[in-house]
């Protein structure tokens, strides 16, 4: 059985099921790299230029760990999954970026996703996939169409069905905090310094952008409602204002990696508007490869003390 490696980083945190399903359908064994750890981070740091954002460095580490144990590593090329919403430029060049940064010592499979051209560019990647796996092109094409449907449905439904308005009734005994950020930051235990676990252990309940409906987030994404923007930017921007407007949220934490170009803008929009139009406490936590857990915890605790 052909072994396909899925790096547990970046897109994995939103679309793992889709791609695992895709390759299993095609009769492959899927191997996921383990949770991020120090070794993975160090490997990633070694092969990327210094000012690369932390999650992309970590992604490189995962690919580097996987490459010896699998036949191919799969890296989708996300350009645009929803009309007029774009991914970060780094996602468009991710397959080559990884390939070149790892000195071409890795065999990749790649599929391009761009809804604005009707996923036309995907054909080339699918041909390579079908050839490498020794399959009929039509089988690959069909599995791909399935994957697309799932991706689309994923956007329509909200996973935790938290819905609007946020939390029907206020749980008086428990605090509720909103945690914003890229899914590959907040759900990666290593990169997030176990932020979610730490909050839960204090009996704080947590909401994230995944708890809100797609349309709700888009409607609140001031000033980019109906406008072209980054997809993840719209998620965080919209969520920030939905949460800020809800009585049931006691505070908002935005977890951002060092050198993220997208967040640098999104957070600025959020902070400005929160200051002028809302009262909810806001904490920005920046993580880089040198961030110590102690300092991180101190900042978090100070914030939690403040909101009482």
């Amino acid at each position: 059985m052909t072994k396909i490696g899925l790096p547990k980083a970046l897109f994995y945190y939103q679309h793992s099921a889709v791609w695992e399903g895709f390759f299993r359908n095609l009769g492959c064994e899927v191997i996921v790299s383990g949770d991020t750890n120090k070794e993975i981070l160090d490997r990633g740091v070694r092969c990327c230029s210094n000012d690369t954002c932390l999650p992309v460095k970590v992604f490189h580490g995962h690919v580097d760990i996987l490459k010896g144990n699998v036949d191919y590593v799969f890296i989708p090329r996300y350009t645009c999954l929803i009309n007029r919403e774009y991914t970060c430029p780094k996602f468009c060049g991710l397959p080559e970026m990884t390939y070149l940064n790892l000195d071409k010592q890795v065999r990749l499979l790649e599929i391009s996703l761009n809804v604005e051209t009707g996923h036309m560019e995907a054909a080339k990647g699918l041909k390579t996939v079908s050839k490498s796996l020794d399959l009929d092109y039509r089988a690959a094409e069909e599995a791909f169409q399935n994957a697309l449907r799932e991706l689309e449905q994923g956007y329509k439904k909200c996973e935790n069905s938290f819905g609007e308005p946020v939390a029907k009734e206020r749980d008086r005994k428990r605090q509720t905090l909103a945690v914003l950020g890229h899914p590959y930051m907040i759900y990666d235990k290593y990169l997030s310094m176990k932020l979610l676990e730490k909050l839960r252990s204090r009996n704080i309940s947590i909401v994230t952008p995944a708890d809100l409906e797609y349309q709700t987030k888009r409607r609140h994404a001031v000033p980019y409602q109906e406008k072209v923007f980054w997809e993840v930017g719209l998620d965080n921007l919209g969520s920030a204002f939905v949460f800020a407007g809800s009585e049931n949220i006691d505070g908002i934490i935005y977890l951002t990696p060092f050198a993220c170009g997208v967040d640098s803008f999104v957070i600025e929009f959020i902070e400005r508007r929160l200051k002028s139009d809302y009262t909810v406490p806001f904490l920005k936590l920046t993580v880089d490869e040198h961030t110590g857990e102690a300092g991180f915890d101190t900042r978090l605790e100070a914030f939690l003390d403040m909101i009482g």
Binding site: D51, T79, C88, P223, G261, S276
Partner: protein, 369 residues
């Protein structure tokens, strides 16, 4: 109504021509960037450098009395597209009341474009408008040609510093000049002065191409006068990104119903199998390859710290160096970059290119005799 705009290389020269012909009042931010520090102080820490510098430009223009801001733009898939909104939000919370006029050539039809410009064109004859645009386009071409001439002369001048002297004087005057006629006159006379500089025609300069993010590549303030520095070291500099090519790519090609391709962009696909990696990323890759093929001695790649597309582009340079045998040096710039260390790196790179050329020469000689 008074208008100001963010600087981008010598774009202010054609804009002056346009505004003068249309009789629009305007303020040009200083070339010495007197509001540089303020721009940085008002910007988010991790915004890219062009964002911070252009914010300083706007503050400068506003202080000179501007109440309208003209934004050209549309630079592929990158932060640039969102500059205007964030600048607006920042200016507003800093208490400035300004109107933004955004021209986003990648998402606008010609009609929409003219609609946005209405406050300026109202009551002005079509003929004047056309004359304004044509004169501005002609000025872009002249200004870029002047920079090219300067680059050619600078590395060959017998008395070091002659070229820079002419160009410095030119910049001081042009910023105050009024009207197409005077501006044209100034460009002509600067060209003439350049041509009268005594040069060493025997001298064979090293040829270096500058590629990368447009702002850092063409703005002498941002790249700490990289072109003059290289020129003074006897290097002939070729800057592939120019305002004229930018205007053609982002203005003319978008408005005309033609699907013209940018050669460098297409060439970049040799290493990236996709249509866009944001900004000018693919052009950077393509220009590096083309420079190698045109026989340049080296390539300098420059971009602002954390620039998304250029970080991606940079990954390909190891491969390009191997495949095409051309040395490439990357210079990342931010507001903290020290001039001394920066210049040392440029000098070391030029030294290395020179040694490399000597070795090649010796090898050819050995093989020939």
């Amino acid at each position: 109504m008074k208008i100001t705009f963010p600087h981008m290389g010598n774009l202010f020269i054609p804009l002056k021509v346009l505004f003068d012909i249309l009789e629009i009042d305007y303020a040009v931010p200083s070339l010495s960037r007197c509001k540089f520090e303020e721009g940085i102080a008002h910007s988010p820490e991790f915004a890219c450098l062009p964002f911070k510098i252009t914010l300083g430009d706007l503050l400068d223009g506003i202080e000179q009395g501007a109440d309208h801001i003209l934004y050209g733009g549309g630079c592929g898939q990158c932060r640039f597209g969102y500059y205007a909104d964030l600048h607006e939000a920042i200016l507003k919370s800093a208490g400035y009341d300004v109107t933004m006029i955004r021209l986003d050539s990648s998402n606008m039809t010609f009609q929409e474009l003219m609609g946005k410009l209405k406050p300026f064109t109202e009551g002005k004859s079509k003929a004047r408008l056309v004359r304004g645009i044509l004169s501005a386009v002609n000025t872009v071409l002249m200004a870029d040609r002047l920079s090219k001439t300067a680059a050619w002369i600078r590395c060959r001048e017998q008395q070091k510093g002659d070229t820079d002297k002419v160009m410095r004087r030119f910049n001081q005057r042009i910023i105050k000049a009024k009207g197409y006629k005077e501006i044209k006159q100034l460009i002509h006379s600067a060209r003439k002065q350049l041509r009268s500089i005594p040069v060493d025609l025997e001298f064979k300069p090293l040829k270096v191409a500058i590629v990368g993010e447009i702002y850092t590549s063409i703005d002498p303030f941002v790249n700490m006068e990289m072109e003059s520095k290289l020129g003074s070291l006897g290097v002939e500099v070729h800057n592939h990104l120019t305002i004229s090519s930018w205007v053609i790519d982002h203005g003319i090609k978008k408005v005309l119903p033609l699907k013209l391709k940018n050669k460098a962009h297409e060439r970049g696909k040799e290493l990236f199998d996709t249509d866009d990696i944001g900004g000018h990323g693919l052009q950077t890759v393509g220009n590096a390859i083309l420079s190698a093929q045109k026989g340049f001695d080296g390539v300098i790649h420059t971009y602002p710290f954390t620039c998304l597309p250029e970080i991606v582009a940079q990954c390909s340079f190891g491969e390009i160096q191997d495949q095409y045998g051309i040395p490439i040096m990357t210079l990342i710039i931010d507001e903290l970059t020290g001039k001394a260390g920066y210049e040392t790196r440029i000098e070391a790179f030029v030294d290395m290119l020179e040694r490399r050329r000597q070795l090649e020469l010796q090898k050819t000689m050995r093989e020939a005799f």
